[in-house]
Amino acid sequence: MSGPVLLDVRDLVVHFPRRTGLLGTRREVVQAVNGVSLSVAAGETLGLVGESGCGKTTLARAVLRLVDPTAGRVTFDGQDVLALAPRPLRALRRRMQIVFQDPYASLNPRLTVRRAVREGIEIHRLAEGAEADRRVVRLLEEVGLTADAVARYPHELSGGQRQRVSIARALAVEPDLLVCDEPVSALDVSVQAQVLNLFADLQAHRRLAYLFISHDLAVVRHLAPRVAVMYLGRIVEEGPTHELFTGPLHPYTQALLSAAPVPDPARQRRRIVLSGEPPSPVRPPSGCPFHPRCQHPAKDDSCHRELPALRDLGPSRRAACHKADSVRAPASPSPA
């Protein structure tokens, strides 16, 4: 199912210097992304899960070079994204598009749907005149809107419809990769289901690759066959979705899975309630970033001192924990 590697991120670091204090005289560095490596194959979906402040949005922006990374490498289809000059970068951006969380903020309120969707087509000279308009209508129909939406302004649309417009706009330039940053988090459950189904359909028809970012485990599980879990700027676990959800290796993944409320009152679970808050990315803890909240029984001095590397713990399973045990075979065969 996975084709050649489309997006490859190696040891990516994004630090933001910022001034704080009453007079803005103190300087500190927000270590938003701290050495992340991941790859997405053509036509594949990689889910990226993490809580607020873990750096997932910064990672998404750095991949598209919407923020400049401090160190590391981003390769898209063999091209070094971080080394590209403005013109080839623009050409490359046609192939990698992003859908943001808040369709209220990401659409220009003064552009009609036609102009919003046409913009990319014109900039990249994919079509013009009546042909461009025909493309707009086809795209709107593909995302489940009717042709009469072309003359509407964003404020005339519901949240779900706006997100469909954002998706149509991203698809207008025929990308190979769609970075989706919490694309359904602002939507109501019933509308969220419509948009998730749309993402699945689009992938099937267009062979799109997704980097799908969400804080919602159920959403990621539904859409992504492979998942990476992020905590405080680092990937702490990665693996095939079914195995990661049924047998999480990292104590943070275990806590995260046990904390998610499940709409089934018949099921009583043992819940790992973490104490404390995620530490600040300005002053990450020494050693393992999770150690202050970790409840692993074997936690010891090494967790305070040494940063655990993301290491192989079984067929396509990786976790960054000194104490995690290897798995020999997949936890259980997928019933799919």
Binding site: V191, A193, A266
Partner: protein, 335 residues
């Protein structure tokens, strides 16, 4: 667990709240009946715009200017009609007998007062206590909601706390007068899952200690499944289904409830495809005729377009506003 015989603490009957808007009259809450018994945890579930927050505000008479609570609406707390109380007596109810926790902890706190003084103020409004004693109660309450170094933290300002900590402060403020009823409106929606789990655990244990009833308002079916004993599902300003939590999730009787349950991806078993509910919630100025869900309902027939269904008994303690309860054979005739 509460016995069904426990006395009704809160009884809402035929609550109607409307707002004048440029697009016409928005009937945000339209004939709502709801009961919370002493010590009971009741969930009120619905999507945005269904009227659940307006219901919470109406209970405490906090519906703002422009909003109109129709005559004939009743909100009874231990038999007293809150809507008919003089303003002074209503003030004694708010915060003291019924407390409210909002979704957004950042905007519910005063940014220029320390958190200790805000909680102490809540105490002093309702109880004749000396300043120092009220402060001590505030610190005790901060300890009870799990804030480390409570005595020190009480002198901090809201911006010095994280989102989870602020929500704890709001809970401390709500519970410091030991109310009989806590109305929690999306109390964990703005929080991360691991923090959400902590806050729900906290509310649950405080509720048991204080023997308090709770009306939990949320869009999150998972939170309801794990917290509430009984659930009301709200759609388009009305209750469309009411049942014990277990019954509701196992045998949803209203197609809207069914749709909601099908629309949630389960973290346990991945489904091939989510059963989305077609269309979207209509605006409150134009509720559809007949059953308000009929334009989105896969089963709707002529009767649904013309006649408005009342809440019908589907089973013991289980009611649904749907003609399918009377004509279950219609489910076979899938369009």
């Amino acid at each position: 667990m509460t016995s069904p015989q426990a006395p009704a603490l809160l009884e809402i009957a035929n609550l109607r709240v409307s707002f004048a808007t440029p697009a016409g009259t928005a009937r945000a809450v339209d004939g709502l009946d709801l009961v919370v018994r002493s010590g009971e945890t009741v969930g009120l579930v619905g999507e945005s715009g269904c009227g659940k927050t307006v219901t919470a505000l109406a209970i405490l008479r906090l519906v703002d200017q422009g909003g109109h609570v129709a005559p004939g609406s009743q909100v009874r707390l231990e038999g007293r009609d809150l809507l008919a109380l003089p303003v002074k007596e209503m003030q004694a109810v708010r915060g003291n007998h019924v407390a409210l926790v909002f979704q957004e902890p950042a905007s519910a706190l005063n940014p220029v007062l320390t958190i200790g003084s805000q909680i102490a103020e809540a105490v002093r409004v309702h109880h004749r206590l000396r300043r120092r004693d009220a402060w001590r109660r505030a610190v005790e309450m901060l300890e009870a909601v799990g804030i480390p170094d409570a005595a020190e933290r009480a002198r901090h300002y809201p911006h010095q706390l994280s989102g989870g900590m602020r929500q704890r402060v709001l809970i401390a403020m709500a519970l410091v007068c030991r109310p009989k009823l806590l109305i929690a409106d999306e109390p964990t929606t703005a929080l991360d899952v691991t923090i959400q789990a902590e806050i729900l655990e906290l509310i649950r244990s405080l509720q048991q200690q204080l023997g308090m009833a709770m009306l939990l308002i949320t869009h999150n079916l998972g939170v309801v499944a794990e917290t509430a004993e009984r659930v009301y599902v709200m759609y388009a300003g009305q209750i469309v289904e009411e049942a014990q939590t277990g019954d509701l999730f196992a045998h949803p009787a209203h197609p809207y409830t069914e749709g909601l349950l099908g629309a949630v991806p389960s973290p346990d078993e991945p489904k091939q495809r989510l059963t989305a509910i077609a269309g979207q919630v209509p605006p409150a100025t134009q509720w559809p005729s007949g059953c308000r869900f009929h334009p989105r309902c896969p089963w709707a027939w002529d009767r649904c377009r013309q006649e408005t269904p009342p809440l019908l008994d589907a089973a013991a303690g289980h009611r649904a506003r749907c003609w399918l309860v009377q004509e279950p054979e219609r489910r076979g005739a899938r369009p």
